[in-house]
Symmetry: C2
Subunit: 190 residues, 2 copies
């Protein structure tokens, strides 16, 4: 997706060979118009996949997920990382280690909102080692629902996330595939 | 906003005289179409307010904020409650106590994205005692930016949040104003 790649080149900051900071338009400040285009693109790619629900994880997954949900006409659920007074019962949980936050956290979805009839599209802002994606898959499987695929805004293709997901048979659609961040430069997979 | 009030009556759960659970369409599962209508309504109400930026707080504020940003054509910033490896420098912070989570947390915005030229619309999912709103106001003032007003999805009008914000001279636009949750019933301000 060319507009996204241009935005990454123009406004992304390479903090190290591993870390790309896109706080200017995705992870802190959000560009709503770009999110709209991202929603259009995911909706187009998964148009025939029979998606009944979108699942993402707070906080940065919410904007691309909600735009995709709007285009596809399906509800969005965001997995919670933090305990809430109102989110208490019927929880499906899984643990995930976040590299960028350096903490292990428990993520949770209420089984009230997911059933074995659901065919779920997972949307997330980043795919790196795939830990968050695997935790979401675990929760969706606990609910007895099936998985239509994963829509990723930015994939770090030099990490193992995609490879392992594909090995498990999941369809992964990434809108920007970053081949390398070496030398402070973002290069994309052709 | 009638569609929102109907949704609250149909799918909201009164957990106590103080707590309304709307995890079915706002705080956990999100109804993208309803969020689109909410964005339209905030954009209509603040059309002439000269808004240059929207500020919200993760996680539940993001969906209504991004839809409003899309309609108004302005960027959205979400204040972070949790430390991130990429959000490190030039932070403006404030502390807020969350009643529903029973924790005091520090919220942060990078001053990279807010300047004294900005006229900010604050969007949030709930207004109760106004603690989160006051923390956002503090951060926006630290950046030297001005405040166009506050757009709230659900206001608990029986708590002091709106009263105190109006006393400080801020414009508050709430799409559903809950007068009482007594007896397990949601009643709205006429």
């Amino acid at each position: 997706m060319d507009t996204l790649k241009s935005k990454i080149q123009a406004e992304g900051q390479v903090l190290s060979d591993q870390v790309l900071k896109v706080d200017a338009f995705l992870n802190h400040q959000i560009d709503p118009s770009l999110m709209g285009e991202i929603g259009d693109e995911f909706a187009r790619r998964f148009a025939d996949a029979g998606v009944t629900k979108i699942v993402t994880i707070e906080a940065s997954g919410i904007a691309p997920a909600i735009m995709t949900g709007l285009k596809m006409g399906v509800p969005v659920i965001f997995a919670r990382k933090h305990q809430s007074l109102t989110l208490t019962d019927n929880l499906l949980t899984s643990t995930v280690y976040s590299f960028t936050k350096r903490v292990e956290s428990t993520i949770a979805i209420s089984m009230t909102h997911l059933s074995s009839d659901d065919h779920v599209l997972i949307i997330d802002d980043f795919l790196a080692n795939g830990k968050a994606a695997q935790a979401l898959i675990s929760i969706i499987q606990q609910a007895g629902a099936s998985i239509a695929g994963l829509g990723i805004v930015i994939e770090k293709s030099f990490q193992v996330g995609r490879q392992e997901l594909e090995k498990q048979g999941y369809r992964v659609e990434s809108l920007a595939r970053v081949k390398s961040l070496e030398g402070g430069q973002v290069t994309f997979v052709e």
